[in-house]
Symmetry: C2
Subunit: 743 residues, 2 copies
Amino acid sequence: MNLKTTASSIALFLLLQSSYAQQKLSGFSSEHAQQQQDLEARFDKGLSAAAIGNNIRTLSAKQHYLGMPRDKWVAENILQQFKSYGWDAHLETYQVLFPTPKTRVLEASYPAGYKAVLKEPALKEDASTGQPDELPTYNAWSADGDVTGELVFVNYGLPEDYEYLERLGIDVKGKIVIAKYGRSWRGIKPKVAQEHGAIGTLIYSDPKDDGYYQGDVYPVGPYKSEYGVQRGSIMDMVIYPGDPLTPGVGATENAQRLERSAATNLLKIPVLPISYHDAAPLLAALEGPVAPDAWRGALPFTYHIGPGKAKVHLKLEFDWKMVPAYNVIATMKGSQFPDQWVIRGNHHDAWVYGAADPISGLSSLLEEAKAIGELAKNGYKPKRTLVYAAWDGEEPGLLGSTEWVEAHAAELQQKAVAYINSDGNSRGFLGVGGSHALEPFMGEIAKSITDPQTKVSIFERKQASDLVSAASTKAKKDILAKKDMTISALGSGSDYSSFLQHLGIPSLNVGFGGEGAGGEYHSIYDTYENYSRFKDPGFEYGVALSRLAGHAALRLADADVLPFDFRSLSKTINGYTTDLLSLAEQMRENTAVENQIISNNAYQLAGDVTKPLKAPVAKPEVPYIDFSKLQNALVALDKTAQHLQDARKPQLPAAQLEVLNKALYQAEQQLLHEQGLPNRAWYKHVIYAPGFYTGYGVKTMPGIREAIEQRRWKEAEEQIGIAATAINRLTDYLEKTFNSIRN
Amino acid sequence: MNLKTTASSIALFLLLQSSYAQQKLSGFSSEHAQQQQDLEARFDKGLSAAAIGNNIRTLSAKQHYLGMPRDKWVAENILQQFKSYGWDAHLETYQVLFPTPKTRVLEASYPAGYKAVLKEPALKEDASTGQPDELPTYNAWSADGDVTGELVFVNYGLPEDYEYLERLGIDVKGKIVIAKYGRSWRGIKPKVAQEHGAIGTLIYSDPKDDGYYQGDVYPVGPYKSEYGVQRGSIMDMVIYPGDPLTPGVGATENAQRLERSAATNLLKIPVLPISYHDAAPLLAALEGPVAPDAWRGALPFTYHIGPGKAKVHLKLEFDWKMVPAYNVIATMKGSQFPDQWVIRGNHHDAWVYGAADPISGLSSLLEEAKAIGELAKNGYKPKRTLVYAAWDGEEPGLLGSTEWVEAHAAELQQKAVAYINSDGNSRGFLGVGGSHALEPFMGEIAKSITDPQTKVSIFERKQASDLVSAASTKAKKDILAKKDMTISALGSGSDYSSFLQHLGIPSLNVGFGGEGAGGEYHSIYDTYENYSRFKDPGFEYGVALSRLAGHAALRLADADVLPFDFRSLSKTINGYTTDLLSLAEQMRENTAVENQIISNNAYQLAGDVTKPLKAPVAKPEVPYIDFSKLQNALVALDKTAQHLQDARKPQLPAAQLEVLNKALYQAEQQLLHEQGLPNRAWYKHVIYAPGFYTGYGVKTMPGIREAIEQRRWKEAEEQIGIAATAINRLTDYLEKTFNSIRN
């Protein structure tokens, strides 16, 4: 064996290696896989961390909330960028309602002279802060109101907190509640308060949750300082998101609009977010029972529940204006399938400067657009149409994306292959949520992208983090045994919602995080200065996001066979069903045991006479629920998904491929239930929805799960029927597809 | 059936009821059971809550720590009380070493001008506080020292905290550490600090643990205020308790004494307890990594681990005096078995006023003595001798009781039927710990005593509390199914230690608590004013304690057959063995998985580059351990315990009863291993010991458990052999006893 032979062997080895790598691009013939990998390599070379940083700096330099001139300036800047990169781009404008504050008063009779500051101070260490006319701290969609009442501390303001208040004999009717930010989407807190008869809600940021308890505060570290306030929407978007006046339809100039009072996603009570500086004197003045351990924060006094001597006066008035929401839509037409759209989006509006939220994610998106533009200048033509979007009005309630989706619903259900969303991005670990038929696809991509810090794949780094943070040895063993990536289910909180949950368009939400924690969210301190010190100093995770989302978009645009794998969906729904069975089983056992404890009088006997606490009320026993329809539906789906997977090959004839691909990307629409979820018809997907009492947090198989959680047994069985019907519809649809490509 | 018949039936029914009640007094013939119950009813009538309150007020009116004149005054007051109740009483005095502070300086270069206050202020709301010459705040047995060094925060100062420091690359060698009170006995903290090379230790009370985080602070509520300090001993009493100069022998006038430097239970570094007022500036000045969540307290700043700019100067000097410890010993001679002693004790010395600790428990004991004295005046003579004791010098390290036990060791091993201990008492739930052969006996008593607040039995109330606070539905179901009382195992922290763990005398520790939580422990605020507001306002739990301990003492004194049931002991040891098996199994699995995670490099990959944290070091795999000797020993014990239980009847002839009873109460001595535990020969019991790294907290089957926990596998198997031998010795002993009463 001479040297030459050895060299040949090495070459062969490298070739095998590379062909092995090709096999990882599912949906591509091996020739096309090689081309696609070359394309991605060129795409990657077009990405610049510095350029991402520059965009973050430029677009977050001044505040740019929905409806203000700078918001339009940002939209037009983005528009120009798209155009300069060679994209066909335009603004698409909707007219939406958007309240901004006119009057904000929070004062109290006790402690004497109390008047809330309601203002975040400028910091000399952060030159961005303190610009003129910063948007005051407020919760958008609070009702106008002028109320005075006693104050009650309600922990995070969730239903279980009110159950505990009831045991204490404390009623919030006619009172103002003060809740901590955290544990749920903020809009849940005033909604539950309103359900319990409260006349107003204060939401404050306890230093336990994102302030000094967590770490050094800004500007020393990234955490929330004394006066920091989280702005944010409290629209009840689990009913429907988007413009409250135009549910289900695009908020075009001439759309038919509801009266504001008829909008079912607007609350009736005034709501104000405050800093812990403003909250502390009110909390310290509360009397009544000491708050239980889980309710206590990090302020240096004993947390009482109230009420106390303080009568609190809350007066809020808003300017309820119609404003234009400027979506920027850029397209690059598909060479083979122009009517198949791969959509990629990130919002551009911010509460104030919004360097992290949303500009960091947006800048990655723009960088992708730039790199794809360069590919195009060098001859690249995507097979399918790429649609890159920068949404306006996400912060007040996903307004821009929702109105666009509603306006284009029919066309999107025909054409949209998938929607890939991002939002704020930071250092850390890969996060992917979305449609589970895309789970293996995203796993392939995640295994092929290198983590900027550790130089292993972002998949491997995420798995390492899962391993280290897993709570039990059993969980660690499960992770060690796992070879594939798991993606999470999507609730709400960013612009994928209408695509996925209203139209059934396969959706993904991608980003990095976990090492960029801080307290700047929705405050004036979400600045370039802050971002570039604490979130992603070298903007390398910005590049990683561009690669992640860009490769996904390009592969979807160019795949011979679209990389949907319904075995993953089937497996995932099976898992959810197992969860639901065990949820019902546990509730049954817990209820039986708890009722026995109640009937034994144990709560009274265990109680401290100096701390009166009623026993919980016994709950009706949990019946056995018939899951069989669902279980049978899943057996069928499982089989069909396997058939189809075996049959879907890039080598199929073009005509069959075209039929197959369209069927694959439209399949998820079979999981829509036209009448939607109980009491919130806008949400039509039977597998994914935001929780009625969690907000951002997802409820998988929401119709069934929420019925069980809220002990509506008849509804649970109805919802099982609805889900089974939808799954059977999907199975039939996939089986038909399978037959059509076999024949 | 006429009315008369009906009345007879009712009478019969009542008789049956009453005879059923009699059967609950195991160890008594039914005739004697009735007599005993009558006796107990008369005893109960002799108890007065007001008298208990008066004793608490009188004996805690001035400070009375070991060695000061008031300590002697208290002993003499108790002596006079015993005498006045008709007991034969005397002082038994030992000469013990006891250091009090001469110099206490804590200062720092940063923050500038820092000098610790080291003084608890008087409160106008509590007239007891602020008397002249209150004992300064200090930790007894701290070394003299004058050290200057950087400061490192070590959480609770336990071995696992230092493992984490090692991962951070922070070494305490040559530094001063600051640890929080809590999670372990205080003496563990400086011991572990010294093991790691620290030159001094500060221990502070974080408001999270017993201050404002828990509830309103004194005098508004019972929790620890800004300047409150916990005094206390840091003698390494898990090596041996009692006078450090006379291990194993009574500290009589002429006892042979060690040089102080040769006492292996004294640490070499200076140690000072401080308030959070004094700790906060030092903690706030720390730099370095942010402390992990579990380390953080409730002070309003970010907890860093250090070190920082501060150099801390700690200078401590003590007056190492020999002082007299006055035990008060009162006896009431047994009419039938004067050489069988039922011993009841509670200490009388306090750190300052000590209303709760120890005077509340002591006052219940005195009330028992009074009521028994009244019974005696009316003709009652206990069959066995009652010995009521008030120990001195418990606070610095169980000095009085240990020296008495060591001085009388041989006699006690012959004569002591059981030792019943109490200490501070408060409102709440029954607590019983001790020798498990007495578990059913204590269960009977607990079921017959009424809880002052709820009027159900103290057993039932405890079970209700266990039910409500159980962490899982499974645990709740287990409790619901449970009919018998479980007693806990004893570690250390009060005067039972030498009886049980050094001599193998059956011991019990009894009291109430759980609703009297506060922050007064070992501070100047443990006063009558505090006690009577927060701990046991009507002193009714004082009466309940008198009933509980008094009934136990009287039943043990009068029983025909002593109520030892070795089936309970056997069952308990079986349970511990199952725990140990599962501990080894879990360690094996955890070690394997953790080592795999470490070898996967997951810690490095999951780590944040801005927060360097080394991976844990891989640990040797856990071998399979041979438990068979122990398991076989338990099978045999189980059988014999059942034989004996079947045979032990009050109807046995007197001579056999006498043999049986003596054998029963001496049986537990068979569980002593003469060479004691590894490196701490004073602790001889193979089932119960305080943990080497927990202090007060018990380690059951300590030789085996600590060997496994500390990964000394060979030692674990040796200790299994030692435990098995001891258990076999007990089995043989019981079998011999069984044979002797059969023949």
